[in-house]
Symmetry: C2
């Protein structure tokens, strides 16, 4: 099948997106792939598959490749005498800002381009961790209690240590700190405020079970990955996460009961339904006293969580055939016509 | 001052947006105005001020005017041998879909264009009335209790009649019905489902006081309009609302105590702060037993609620000088460089 991988973006996760795209090139062998790079200045380039390596971008060689612009129905490559339209389904693989904050979704919807990825609403609710809390609260999905802090505020915390301090709207563990006592708090806040003017603070749960589950809705049913119990470290720092985005090896199923698997899948459905249609997402859960808590929604997981799917290529193909299309209301001028004829014009 | 009025859009409120734009042409006399029309197929046209009348659009005469495309920093008008850039601040006056759902905000942010209007997050939270409920709940802002219904659901309602049935994501009273008894419910739901697959149902409060207040944050302070007590009818239907969008006459202040005015302004600030910066919004409130309830947020009110401001032109000018700019993270290739040099490449 034909697919355009859109990656890059003006984001702290720009490099990670490049790694993800290179990984998908390998995992989707046999597909007719196009690579569309969004540079940090928001210029689009068509990248030849043979040039899909990290140094192409770090050395700036992508700037010699054909420019693309957005146009109704697809990306257009213009030359002196002709223009070529690229109308493939797009896989939005821009992690972080642009890709996960709703911008790219809005652009692709506006230009009538079909895409795999979260829509604008879903992006807004998953990108900012405060809004994920609002959403879960409204839908009756359990999450850890939390507090927020704005860069201009100096509130006293009511949570007990240890706590985890996160920029409200970044993924990939960037700017995240575990704070074991009050003396470490200011440094952790400063670190998080480098990335976002809003910070989310939660209890840091030691020794809690964590499970990741990816999936999507297509062709009238949910399609789930295996459940993974991620390797335990305090948390993945940027470097480890970066390596994580190039994962291709299928992982082992977590050793959990059917009952727990069903519970995790049911919580996933509660998160996904009526919000994430069109996207393959990964939900990261905590299990505490047999209750499932949502930790994080990754609406564009690193390398699309390919390593969790038994048949990743078929999954992408299936999803690409079930993409929602933004309804465009039919515009009429009935009202203006009726006013004008009443006026005799 | 220079300003581009962006109007139209693929929306049920397309005609209303045209009326709003024509009204602003009159209200902003003396400004150096540009008019940018977004057609229902998402083509942009530069409309000459002299052609700013409703029949230009209903007769399709706008299609003879210069095409514009989005480009980094502004709208570009291309001709055979040259291209002209329009880099004014944009006033987003597209009501309903496109304009108020976050799409136009994302486009303007992506292309680095300064604009008056709600950002993407703020649009998502105000466009879908369910999400407004989530938001108010999280911020401790009182709203009426509610239920939702999806087109595929057949839930029994627990609210008592009379109730008001609204499409989740439309403004201007389109598809809204007051339902006095159960026998009228199915028809009201069908009507609302014509416009949205999700419906919001609230108690219909007879004889409750309603107040509208518009305002914005600029130059370090809030700037409020007068408080209006809207004319009482059951509710404004589309036709009355349409006329409402062409209002230019300054209205009279509602006869309320200073104490109530302060309460309304305080609730407005609670809604606005950290979410609606860059926009001039109108909040519609109910007052019940001396408590302020938010009914609706209009992030792009009809004709910008000009009739509520004592000096509308200065308000727009002041706001245009205080617009937030989406921070673009600096992209580096530090990680790729360090990996490459470790590999000796």
């Amino acid at each position: 099948m034909k697919l355009s991988i859109l990656f890059g973006g003006a984001s702290f996760e720009h490099e990670i997106s490049i790694v993800s795209a290179i990984t998908l090139k390998e995992k989707l062998q046999g597909f007719d792939l196009n690579f569309i790079f969004c540079d940090s200045d928001h210029t689009f380039y068509l990248i030849d598959a043979s040039a899909m390596k990290a140094t192409t971008f770090s050395k700036g060689n992508h700037k010699k490749m054909p420019l693309l612009t957005l146009s109704n129905g697809g990306f257009v490559q213009k030359s002196m005498f002709s223009s070529v339209e690229h109308k493939n389904v797009v896989l939005n693989l821009i992690h972080g800002a642009d890709g996960e904050d709703g911008t790219i979704a809005a652009l692709l919807d506006f230009y009538n381009i079909k895409y795999i990825g979260p829509r604008t609403d879903a992006s807004v609710f998953s990108y900012d961790k405060r809004y994920t809390k609002y959403f879960c609260e409204a839908r009756g999905i359990k999450t850890l209690k939390y507090e927020t802090q704005h860069t201009n505020e100096h509130k006293n915390l009511s949570l007990e240590y240890p706590i985890i301090v996160k920029p409200a709207s970044l993924g990939s563990s960037i700017g995240v700190s575990i704070v074991k006592e009050e003396s470490e708090l200011d440094y952790a806040l400063d670190t998080a405020f480098e990335y976002d003017s809003n910070v989310l603070i939660e209890p840091f749960m030691e020794g809690v079970k964590e499970y990741n589950l990816a999936g999507f809705y297509a062709d009238g049913a949910f399609h789930f990955s295996i459940v993974e119990e991620p390797q335990k470290e305090e948390f993945l720092d940027f470097e480890k996460k970066y390596m994580d985005f190039s994962r291709v090896e299928q992982v082992l199923k977590a050793d959990i009961s059917d009952e727990l698997r069903v519970k995790l899948e049911a919580t996933f459905e509660k998160v996904y339904t009526g919000m994430f249609e069109g996207a393959l997402i990964r939900c990261d859960f905590f299990v505490i006293n047999n209750h499932v808590y949502l930790n994080e929604i990754n609406p564009i997981p690193g390398s699309m969580a390919n390593y969790l799917f038994q048949d990743f290529k078929s999954s992408i193909e299936l999803l690409s055939l079930s993409l929602p299309i933004k309804q465009k209301p039919k515009v009429t001028y009935d009202y203006i016509h009726s006013i004008s004829s009443a006026k005799g014009k």
